[in-house]
């Protein structure tokens, strides 16, 4: 039996975590399972809203499908006050009660991402129902967009580069800056206001050549941001951009962007997870479901039968709360009721997982342009490890790199792991942030991919909010 204790820091910080270990082992040993085929994993799920029960099991299929091992995972944060024997027995049971919302799928295809998409598309409805703007649900209660000092540093560095290029007649007429994931527009406003001031002092009239492009997935967010920077309207364009495929909308920008600014986008994009267990590589497949109790309770609350529930959820995800209310006024007399239904489902949503053997890394598509070969240095020869593939973030990042001018840079603030070793010492998602999904981003993988494309990537602590989990990625052409 393997035992994998991941929350290393919590084992020192938390008496509850330590005290849970003995009872966990006793419960496992008492379970009617072949201990030689059991892996025990202990996490610390820091997200109070998440997709996990305190104890879950995950089948580990063998390549020839003849046999299966079992991984049993515990959330140490929630193991202190529960009947561990009962939970272990239930987790190891071959029965899977509850209401499945989809078949087994790779993580990136899970319907949790449809919920995530709905959140950004119908953000105004969610905000109205919950009574707070999304910024308030961010850690710290606001975005990190209002720091003039950070803006000033970036702008002065741009001026230095532009002056040099201008001296060799290599400065293009239009000077592009791109922001992906614009939030409420405060970052753009802070940046542009500061730009005007500094440009006036610099005296080269770069402002008149500036093209500030705001790209976002959500038209609602984009419209709000556009209003925020209305006084720079002549310099600003707003574009709906599919975050994982920026080149579709922004292909015209190839090699032209002097600065690409991205904040809190990547952690919110679909991802798979891969694992290496005993030298074999596996894909983590997931299945969204509602527990039996939750399904019954929600169905009753909204006047639906349990059998109708899955179809109703699918309909919500397809047409959103407003149209759902119009289409089924009996159940949802107003959009607020439909949003209440959405909130209840989201809160109750759970994921079960299993490990499926991969035929080969080269046959696994990370993105349409990238095979799993890129993962080999990270996942092989390192012992047992489970990591995010960050497919959405990689698609976005690799689609953005070609947009960067040879003297340009990408600056990105997000939840990045900065070392492969961190996957052995903590839990990094998925979790729930308000109505959206959060996953930390596999920083070493982005670094590796960038390196293969001639970019150096550096990770530094987010200076504007010391102590936060946010890390700043800076990518620039190297050599």
């Amino acid at each position: 039996m393997d035992v994998d204790l991941r929350p290393v820091k919590k084992l020192r910080d938390s008496a509850a975590a330590r005290s849970a270990l003995g009872p966990i082992m006793e419960a496992v040993c008492a379970a009617p399972a072949d201990l030689a085929r059991l892996r025990v994993v202990c996490d610390w799920i820091q997200y109070k809203q998440n997709f996990r029960e305190p104890v879950v099991s995950r089948p580990v299929a063998h390549a020839d499908n003849t046999d299966t091992d079992i991984e049993i995972a515990f959330d140490l944060r929630r193991c202190a006050d529960i009947d561990l024997n009962a939970h272990v027995k239930e987790a190891l049971s071959e029965e899977h009660p509850g209401l499945p919302l989809e078949p087994w799928v790779p993580g990136r295809d899970s319907c949790i991402w449809r919920f995530n998409q709905l959140y950004w598309q119908a953000l105004s409805h969610w905000e109205m129902a919950t009574g707070r703007e999304y910024e308030q649900s961010l850690p710290g209660g606001e975005s990190d967009a209002r720091n003039t000092e950070a803006a000033r540093e970036l702008i002065l560095e741009l001026f230095r580069i532009w002056d040099e290029l201008d001296a060799r007649r290599a400065l293009p007429e239009e000077l592009y800056v791109l922001e992906l994931g614009v939030g409420n527009g405060n970052q753009a406003r802070t940046w542009l206001d500061e730009f005007v001031q500094l440009d006036r002092r610099h005296g080269r009239e770069y402002y008149h050549r500036l093209r500030y492009l705001m790209g976002d997935y959500s038209p609602h967010v984009l419209e709000r941001a556009r209003r925020t920077v209305a006084h720079h309207a002549e310099r600003v364009s707003a574009l709906v951009v599919e975050a994982t495929r920026p080149s579709v909308t922004l292909g015209f920008l190839a090699g032209k962007a002097f600065l690409v600014y991205i904040s809190n986008v990547y952690d919110n994009l679909p991802t798979d997870e891969l694992a290496c267990i005993h030298g074999r590589t596996y894909q983590v497949e997931t299945q969204s479901f509602l527990t039996e109790d939750d399904a019954t309770q929600i169905a009753h609350r909204f006047g639906a039968s349990r059998d109708e529930l899955a179809k109703l959820i699918d309909r919500l995800l397809r047409i959103g709360p407003e149209l759902l209310s119009e289409a089924t006024p009996g159940q949802f007399p107003d959009p607020g009721q439909a949003v209440a239904f959405w909130c209840a489902i989201w809160e109750a949503l759970r994921l079960r997982e299993r490990y499926v053997p991969l035929e080969g890394l080269d046959s696994y598509p990370v993105t349409p342009d990238l095979t799993g070969e890129i993962l080999r240095p990270l996942i092989e020869g390192q012992g047992d490890v489970r990591m995010h593939v960050s497919n959405g973030a990689l698609g976005s990042f690799t689609g953005t790199l070609p947009l960067v001018h040879p003297f340009g840079r990408i600056q990105c603030h997000d939840l990045f792991l900065t070392s492969r070793r961190q996957y052995r010492t903590g839990f990094y998602g998925p979790g729930k942030y308000d109505g959206s999904v959060v996953n930390w981003v596999n920083g070493p993988l982005l670094q590796l991919v960038a390196s293969r494309r001639g970019f150096g990537v550096e990770y530094t602590p987010f200076r504007q909010r010391p102590g936060s989990n946010i890390t700043t990625l800076t990518a620039q052409a190297r050599d």
Binding site: R168, A170, G454, A477
Partner: protein
């Protein structure tokens, strides 16, 4: 002085060639990296390279290229293959995370000089020579670009390192000529990033070419590392300094950047050969033959057909193998369209060299 023809006389107009590097397949990249992480032996990698070079030459022949290259497939990148062989260049760490990464290199004392220190390029040429009856272009990175990747703690005047490298390369070029090389090309991929140093670079080029009786080409581009330009700008910086270069041809990129810089050829009275880049090597989209033809027709407004050679913008190393093959075929087809429009394009004995593999 009349420039040496880079191809045998009695040949077709608008000969086609490559700049140097050929597509490096993903499997070869992986094996190269395995070598730099010491997981396969140098001997095995050398054998793998020979097989890959044979395939690259065959691909070029099948595409109809008139003057072929070895695809530079032995080289890890455009700099390290040379620096690792030059005595006096120190490389403290020779393992690499990825084969294409650059070494960190340094010189701490003046480079030793003398004929006993061969880089082995003549051996590389001989291997290719016995593979094909076609004319061969053999290219190597120039002294200015090589110097940009060396930390110089040896020379008080930075130009001295460039000149010392140039003397080393001159000795190598003499060996290449003795081995039968007829067309040598100096690549200066870093020069566009240091336009103020063009005179030094040209001075060094002339040291390399001195008393080496071959046809010389000089390739200057805006960089192709990772299929991205390293610099931006125009070729203005190259002129008129390049007119002092003792070379017979300049090989420039036009497909990606547009043809505006052709004006410089007329403006500065460049009366030698021009290697015209008609294939964008940074874009996987395959050009139509008619687009290639239109680029050549435009160039013919500035350069007579008798002094125009047709090539991609730069090396093909970052293109997928099938894309590289298609692009070469498109280039040859585009040339054929223009040749058909030119009187006397099909000259007696029009075949270049002896055809396919000898």
């Amino acid at each position: 002085m009349e420039p040496k023809s880079p191809v045998p006389t009695n040949t077709v107009l608008l000969p086609t060639t490559v700049v140097g590097s050929y597509s490096v397949p993903e499997w070869l990249e992986r094996l190269k990296t395995e070598y730099y992480q010491r997981r396969i032996s140098a001997q095995h990698l050398a054998e793998i390279h020979e097989v890959a070079i044979k395939a690259a030459v065959k691909d070029q022949e099948l595409a109809g290229i008139d003057i072929v290259s070895d695809g530079e497939l032995r080289r890890d990148n455009d700099v390290d293959y040379f620096l690792a062989r030059i005595p006096g260049v120190n490389i403290p760490q020779r393992a690499k995370t990825d084969y294409f990464d650059y070494y960190e290199t340094e010189v701490t004392r003046p480079l030793p000089e003398g004929p006993e220190t061969s880089l082995g390029l003549a051996g590389d040429f001989r291997f290719t020579r016995q593979l094909t009856g076609k004319p061969i272009k053999f290219s190597f990175t120039g002294p200015f670009s090589l110097s940009r990747r060396i930390r110089d703690d040896a020379y008080t005047e930075p130009g001295e390192l460039v000149r010392a490298l140039a003397r080393r390369l001159n000795a190598e070029a003499r060996e290449l000529a003795e081995a039968g090389a007829e067309l040598l090309q100096i690549d200066e991929p870093f020069l566009a990033g240091y336009p103020e140093q063009v005179e030094l670079a040209i001075e060094a080029v002339n040291i390399v070419t001195e008393d080496v009786p071959v046809s010389w080409a000089l390739h200057v581009c805006y960089g192709n590392r990772y299929a991205r330009p390293s610099w931006e700008g125009h070729y203005d910086f190259l002129f008129p300094a390049v007119k002092a270069a003792r070379v017979d041809q300049v090989v420039l990129e036009f497909a990606r950047k547009g043809l505006d810089d052709l004006r410089l050829i007329r403006q500065h009275g460049w009366d030698k050969w021009l290697g015209l880049g008609v294939i964008d090597v940074k874009n996987p989209e395959v050009e139509a033959a008619e687009l290639v033809a239109s680029r050549i027709r435009r160039a013919l407004e500035y350069v007579p057909a008798g002094r125009l050679m047709i090539n991609p913008d730069c090396g093909l190393r970052h293109l997928a193998p099938e894309v590289a093959r298609q692009k070469l075929r498109a280039m040859v087809a585009g040339v054929a369209l223009v040749r058909a429009e030119l009187p006397g394009a099909e000259l007696p004995g029009a075949e270049l060299g002896g055809g396919e593999t000898a």
